[in-house]
Symmetry: C2
Subunit: 214 residues, 2 copies
Amino acid sequence: MSQTATRVYDELRGEILGGRCTPGARLREEELAERFGVSRTPVREALRRLEADGLAVVTPRRGAEVVRWRDEDIAELVELRALLEGQAARRAATGGGVDLVALTELCDRMEEHAGAEGRAADEITRLNLELHRAVHRASGRLLPDLLVRLIDVPVVRRTFHAYSETELRRSFAQHRELIEAIATGDGDWAAAVMHAHIRAAGATLRAGREPDPR
Amino acid sequence: MSQTATRVYDELRGEILGGRCTPGARLREEELAERFGVSRTPVREALRRLEADGLAVVTPRRGAEVVRWRDEDIAELVELRALLEGQAARRAATGGGVDLVALTELCDRMEEHAGAEGRAADEITRLNLELHRAVHRASGRLLPDLLVRLIDVPVVRRTFHAYSETELRRSFAQHRELIEAIATGDGDWAAAVMHAHIRAAGATLRAGREPDPR
DNA sequence: GCGCCTCGTCTTGTACACAAGAATCGGCCG
DNA sequence: CGGCCGATTCTTGTGTACAAGACGAGGCGC
């Protein structure tokens, strides 16, 4: 079983992003090691990687804990996402290298899941994330790495759970428009759509923080 | 002697940023451990931190090496710096919390060093970095962390060595203008100055790559 | 009774040892 | 003579033991 550290990392990361870890919770090395059935060494590495991702904070000699998000952090987060995802969309539109068919299919599947009202928010979230990442990948080498720290955040992952029917439809429409802008090669258009898309999500975040518990 | 890992990290980081490590050079754990007189454990941690900073790439089971920068990476780097440092300047101008006196003193000292033509490029680089960081710090909590990956790059650190007399003066003038914009609280002005400041540096980078060997 | 100091425990930091996968060099076969 | 296969060697990944610092509880002095 190779890549023990990566397994622990993925596991913990999933728990934090899924909101199954309460912010501020301590992450003791030995406890985690026992829980995952490994030694402290790979756990340490996993914790450092989480810190690099901005998901945990480790204080020297005092251990690691799940990162705590403050309100002003959320505001800054939305601003930066709007800026950087906008730039990613611009470069994706002008640089080529985007699989428009795959993007369209992601939209189709998202809208299907929205039709079937079986609390498909998790699946929609996953598909949405995949769509955004596809755009990021087409934007270069540095930008995707920067965006990881802004996208993989618990609060962002919960956005779709808070969307109203109207907001959901608007979001889907923006995805379609984004694809059209990219297909046209119009960088400004793509950036503007993405910018609006993110700001709209930010408004939902500000409006009702956690209307859906857990 | 506590914080062994941090010491190794700082040392290696300095070597990479100072250009004393050739890109692509392998970083073997045992070799480094012996060189620093420590065990492999803190060396490992240092290497992972360097990877998180984008200064090294580690391939599982194949070790770490000093990151290699391609030309298109540099172009993307300049774009992103212009965008994000511009945003940092905007927030610094509108948010307050900037020590304008300290910034002005940094400018004074930089210009003094430029007057004394004793190859003071390293010192100017250091002061310039400090000025930029002061602006970053005033911009929030997330942005400074993102900027680390764009600022602490070997190529950026060499910029001042490549500046002509004219470019140097223009750069200093932009610093002064930036401070004025921040003092006025004009976010758009501050962002525009910073944007131009970075783009100008980018032009120098593109024009003469490494006119000053080592 | 309150505050300070000290001792004990707990957790992380580092060193060391072993195991597993990768690269390389040599030999062998076609 | 060239290519392929195997063994050796080298390097990293993981487990374990020990040391050092931090936190808390308890006792002592004022």
